[in-house]
Amino acid sequence: MKRPQLKFVSGKGGVGKTFFSLHLQRQDPRFCLAELTSSLKSECEKWKHPTPPSDRVSQKDLAEAFLRRTLKVGLISQWIAENKLFQNLLDLAPNLTELLLLEQWTQLSEETPFVVDAPSTGHFIALFEAIHGARELFESGSLRSIADELHHFFSATPEKTEIHIVSLPEQSSLIESQEIEDRIKALYPKIKIYHVLNKRHFAPENPPPLKEPWHSLAFKRPLLEEKRIAGRTFETVLPDGVPS
């Protein structure tokens, strides 16, 4: 059985994707962290953790390398890569970045396993839908080849990938997590999906006077959360986000 080499972490915005990505990487330091935003540094500062090795991707470099690869003739591609109009067109090409990023992560993960601190729901689903979009829209060409390779990676070797969906015990977050699972399963049913529950609250031991304005927050909140998560399975439950 092959070990997973690419772990994506997604979920609704603000659920603790970076926090959990960091947690996964610390569990297995062989993994490198890949991030699209710069939230990793501030998350490490918040919890006073040393920053693990991470890979920040320059989208411009990716696009230029892609252009060179497609056009083959070095001099022409260099001229085009430096041309303002073409740089602008590369910026505008819909979902080009998504495809190139996915390609880079799948390729690099053959050497070094990656935890990808991925975007939230809509933009995460768009990463995978970009593969299908390109396969539907383009019958040949370099973008189609990339989409085919990615499709092969996720459908023929699904054991190489894991998706971890982080939720908070809140209605909207739980609904979005389900949406991610449904949409990814419709595209790649064999990829393993794990659910993570973050910031589950528990009632304090000391009963406060009922008149206190924070009484319902302290005591009602855990009960409401219990009700919302009833019937759902989470492979990981994280504490309430406060370091002890």
Partner: protein, 311 residues
């Protein structure tokens, strides 16, 4: 410059900070002064779901999703497209998120410049993705202002130039194949009938953020790092009205000093909020900071929404 006197309110924030709730609260307040339209650019369309929780007596404004399909119909009525183009366009809209975003931005500009509402409130995508939105705005604007593009659009009826453009476009076959390359070329040729409309819309993109009528509401929580506020301020450089709203503020609660996880969580939130406020007032003394108190939320029920809108 846009001529509409409509106020534009942009609500920005990282995911999960309560942005959609604040959009609805702002809409309900603005609706006390005139007609309000709320437009959403968030691909998760969370706002539309949340509208179901708004009590009927608070539904004093309209929420409009921007649908790029409608833009095609509108242009098609003015200059009919070849039948295969509609399929291609709809396929692009369906499968390419970024293409959808470009069209939505153009729709947003067109909507605001022709709106007679007192106020238009724009629900933006979560901030890390808004970075992409800002980049899209700049890229679209700069594309339509490239000399060669302007020249090509102005003279699109010139057959020699058409031929030259077509030859240049053949290069795209290497990327997307012959059939898709032809479809992209046909689509762009058809869109040149509407180039003026696109150019005007992209001209308005910058004005949209920085005009006197534009108000920016940056939603944060006590946990938001100051770095995020600084980054947002860079994006909003040139904007005249910027307000930071600290949602889920805990400062007004007299939490006990116990050692259980609830008390520790609340005290950590208070500590973080104080640091954040201090940081903002030092780095951005001109920015107004207001707050909304922490409430028991998470059910998205009508009762919960009523309490939030009344608070």
């Amino acid at each position: 410059m846009m001529t509409s006197k409509t106020q534009r309110h942009f609500v920005w924030g990282r995911g999960g900070v309560g942005k959609s709730h604040v959009v609805l609260k702002l809409a309900q307040r603005q609706a006390q002064q005139g007609n309000v339209s709320v437009l959403t650019l968030d691909p998760s369309l969370r706002l539309l779901d949340l509208m179901n929780a708004v009590p009927t007596d608070f539904r004093t404004f309209e929420v409009l999703p921007l649908k790029p399909e409608a833009l095609f119909e509108e242009f098609d009525r003015l200059a009919p497209a070849q039948p295969h183009l509609k399929t291609f366009y709809l396929q692009m809209v369906k499968s390419l998120q970024q293409f959808r975003e470009y069209l939505q931005l153009i729709q947003l500009c067109r909507f605001i410049s022709s709106s007679s509402a007192f106020s238009v409130i724009v629900d933006t995508p979560p901030f890390q993705e808004s970075g992409g939105l800002m980049k899209s705005m700049e890229s679209l604007h700069s594309f339509f202002h490239q000399t060669i593009v302007q020249w090509a659009l102005k003279t699109s009826s010139n057959p020699l130039l058409q031929f030259g453009m077509k030859k240049m476009f053949e290069l795209t076959r290497l990327f997307v194949g012959k059939r898709a390359s032809q479809s992209v070329f046909d689509l762009l040729t058809w869109l040149t009938h509407h180039s003026e409309s696109f150019r005007q819309a992209t001209d308005h993109l910058k004005d949209l953020l920085t005009s006197d009528l534009s108000y920016h509401h940056l939603i944060v929580t006590p946990e938001t790092p100051l770095d995020f506020v600084s980054k947002a301020m860079t994006y909003l450089d040139g904007a005249k009205h910027v307000e930071v709203i600290i949602n889920r503020s805990c400062l007004e609660y007299p939490f006990p000093d116990h050692q259980d996880s609830f008390s520790r969580e609340m005290h950590l939130q208070i500590e973080l909020e104080r640091k954040l406020r201090e940081g903002i007032s030092k780095a951005f003394p001109q920015v107004k900071v207001s707050s909304l108190s922490l409430q028991l939320m998470g059910d998205d029920s009508v009762e919960e929404m009523r309490q939030f809108l009344q608070s």
